[in-house]
Subunit: 152 residues, 3 copies
Amino acid sequence: MTTDETPGPKIPSPELYVEVTQFYARQMHRMDGGDFGGFAASFSQDSVFAPAGGGGLRGPEAIETAARAAAGRFGGAQPRHWFDMMTVEEADDGTVSTSYYATVTVASSDGSVQVEPTCFVRDVLVRVAGTLRARSRVIERDDLTARARAEG
Amino acid sequence: MTTDETPGPKIPSPELYVEVTQFYARQMHRMDGGDFGGFAASFSQDSVFAPAGGGGLRGPEAIETAARAAAGRFGGAQPRHWFDMMTVEEADDGTVSTSYYATVTVASSDGSVQVEPTCFVRDVLVRVAGTLRARSRVIERDDLTARARAEG
Amino acid sequence: MTTDETPGPKIPSPELYVEVTQFYARQMHRMDGGDFGGFAASFSQDSVFAPAGGGGLRGPEAIETAARAAAGRFGGAQPRHWFDMMTVEEADDGTVSTSYYATVTVASSDGSVQVEPTCFVRDVLVRVAGTLRARSRVIERDDLTARARAEG
């Protein structure tokens, strides 16, 4: 136990923190609104996206195609992404590392809401022409983590 | 694809962003705590509230009456409102436009929790004697959106 | 109705607000990641933890033991804590009072997600060697609140 000795984490500036909240809000509004091109445009040209369960996508065009395909699972229901417990750390070179919880709710026309498996996500954000873009995203799905643990 | 050309959104000041978070936290504590008068007092005298499914309410007294009536659906269970993915934009005249995801969880005495249909909400906030008040709220319920899409 | 007369709440500084978000994100990453020692180290030596349903824990060692025991209910499933509607107020002596909604999702290896009863939590945070620590936490579980209300 090192209560009094553990150094505190590096805290992001309020300006950066707020910019990051707005980045994710707009990115997810696009995704959940079916604007997959707009969603993909929030990734940098050299971005890498590692979905849960393996594989990897390189660049906005591959991400757009995959996001559109993945949304097929919703049928006509309305997805919403929810994030929480986000850490934000800025490196000396200006890149921003975040980590956060994520889940998706799916609202059907009959009024039911399904909660998809929770995830732990790690992003690296960079500035392109002054604006934040995601350069990498790595998603770990908690049900797969639990399964791996059980089979461990 | 316009990754490198899309201009970034206007970011709110950290002071405003934090003030907005506190506005909503207190507004929802009142609502979920059954203080419908306090909830309604967070709306301006000239406010307009457009609930999901149609109709419109004008002013704090109508909003208080409607909020109290709507809470009847919970029986004795405890509701909690959850918001996420909030965009915050301040216009030149100082009005603040927000948009966000919202849902309500309902905790029953038997330990079960029900998740109500998710919503997309758009507010306009203004200052009254220096303090933020909601001047308008427009709620779109995602299950109704999905139903309209299916009937499209 | 006192729309125009109710004074606004005291708003935390952006720096403090962001520091508080990072405190909780890291505290919950530790808890949900099974690092109960790290979780407990985020409490001050003189801390008091009042779990839902009664009883009280004093100090990091008791909190660590109780957190590890409580996590047994998850079996091998993956818990995630979610907070929202957080008020943050700093007193003149620098102590920080927060209040917020909390729930836990539990992701099982079969892909199902369970939502645990929502809670209302009140914390007092203090600085130890410059870093935020929780000095007290009081948890009210909403299903128990609903039950007490029903039993009147």
